[in-house]
Symmetry: C2
């Protein structure tokens, strides 16, 4: 079997069975990301975009592609933000990859750390708190990303979430009965105008994790494939495994889940926007959905 | 551990860990079904209800409970409809159980068969067609139930669908990207007035399959537990197994899936009701969503 266009050795097989060589796969990947950006109107001409980079395959592919997009279209301003949680066995290696690509692309990379912001790195926080690693880490990361994106005067915060991430989130919320949380998903979120909340965009929304991994590998963005050591005992990891085994049996199931969700998403957004308004944390004044934001509640526990 | 109320041996343990004895379980079960009927306004005073009975645990529990409900409240008229698909190793045994209970309750039982209606029993149809058994069977059953419920002048068609059935349907539609089909789910369906489509109600909507099995067993409705021989290689059966294994790990996940769905259901119904209207099959004049209904399309194949 050869590439459908070039009759050379393929690197990738689509669900339909169509095979693509290195060059055609890269074209397919980039075209689909641009299609997503245009279809969901993720980027406007005068946007200044902060790209949330971890140094992993998703965020580096994203940084590269948004740079390419900006250069091709309206030369939107880009800046990269990296949150160093302080995971000793993992983050330093990915920071090197992020620095390397940012330098190559001549994009400013801002690094903010849990240690500077919350007095302790994640490794230490987790030893003391015994809370779910991904919950603490995710809360703090989102908190810092929004805070610094705003301070840097950006208009959009781009994240490397892919199709697998979204399908996992949809099922996780559904399985836990947190349907309201799902109303905050989608290719673009936070479009309700609020001066303190930076809208988030997910240009890799329709790319599978596998596709992004191949793209990143072919482009040489990551020096080696490493995963966060905390991810293995998480609920997300279980749902990831479930979805991957379902995908083997029913190819395309991840697309089906996300596409079904995209029918209900505007209905959910409309439904919840009527009953909710953005509030601000009484401690830090950052946007939140209660009196005290989740980050401040964790900070309180760290202090004690 | 004893029953939370009676300090006697329990027959059932709720997700919360609360245990119930035989008598308290029966009270709990019946109370919850009545609560569902009232909350979703499933039955009105002047209703005449056809109960779709297969002779299995769900439908016999339903028949008994609706009879009890009618006698307690407004004495709504009840009639039972049984569709004999012609599954030799299965259906004759359940028909006996259905006849027995209908006689005890003094409810008229009407039996309609695939053989009389479509010239052949299901066993024979499946040998000839090589189509998915559950798809053919379900299409013909729904077709006959609606047709005869209407001929019998009933105002509601009650089915024994339980929480497990609903959670399975929600996931199946989601996994296949058939979100529009999910808009037809819920505790009451077909409420858009159409003279040819009898609204369907599911009073066991919030009862798990396990609870219904225990209730039916304690009440002695079914002579022995038998399952349809065609169910084992169905997609539904796979989703059932998946949900059961998830439920073991995350107790309450079926409730979460159904409760999440019930938030989106009115939004979906509203969304699709704007773009769709009931149509009638050009061959049989029964309600359908295209030019020729699915039943007539299968009938056409049987003839050839």
């Amino acid at each position: 079997m050869t590439c459908k266009n070039c009759s050379i050795k393929p690197v990738y097989s689509q669900i339909s069975g169509v095979k693509l060589c290195r060059s055609c796969f890269i074209k397919y990947f980039e075209k689909k990301v641009i299609k997503t950006i245009k279809k969901y109107n993720l980027i406007q001409n005068n946007d200044k975009i902060a790209v949330a980079v971890s140094g992993g395959k998703d965020s580096l592919s994203l940084l590269y592609l948004l740079d390419k997009y900006a250069k091709k279209y309206k030369n939107q301003k880009l800046i990269a933000i990296l949150i160093d949680e302080g995971i000793e066995t993992y983050r330093p290696k990915t920071i090197e990859d992020a620095k390397k690509l940012a330098k190559e692309l001549d994009i400013e990379l801002k690094i903010y750390s849990f240690k500077d912001e919350f007095s302790k790195p994640l490794d230490k926080i987790l030893k003391e708190l015994k809370e779910n690693a991904c919950s603490v880490c995710g809360t703090f990361r989102r908190y810092l990303l929004n805070k610094y994106a705003r301070k840097l005067d950006v208009t959009k915060l781009a994240t490397g979430h892919n199709l697998d991430d979204e399908a996992q989130s949809i099922l996780m919320n559904q399985f836990k009965g947190n349907i309201e949380v799902s109303a905050r998903l989608g290719p673009i979120t936070g479009i309700i105008k609020d001066k303190k909340f930076i809208p988030r965009i997910k240009p890799l929304y329709f790319m599978t994790e596998k596709e992004t991994a191949i793209y990143s590998y072919l482009k040489g963005f990551t020096s080696k494939f490493i995963e966060c050591p905390n991810s293995y005992d998480s609920y997300r990891d279980e749902v990831r495994n479930l979805l991957n085994s379902l995908e083997v049996k029913y190819p395309g199931i991840k697309y089906s889940i996300v596409n079904s969700f995209l029918v209900t998403l505007p209905l959910l957004k409309d439904h919840y926007s009527k009953s909710r308004k953005m509030e601000y944390c009484s401690k830090c004044n950052e946007p939140c959905s209660g009196t005290i934001c989740k980050a401040c509640r964790i900070i309180e526990k760290i202090k004690n």
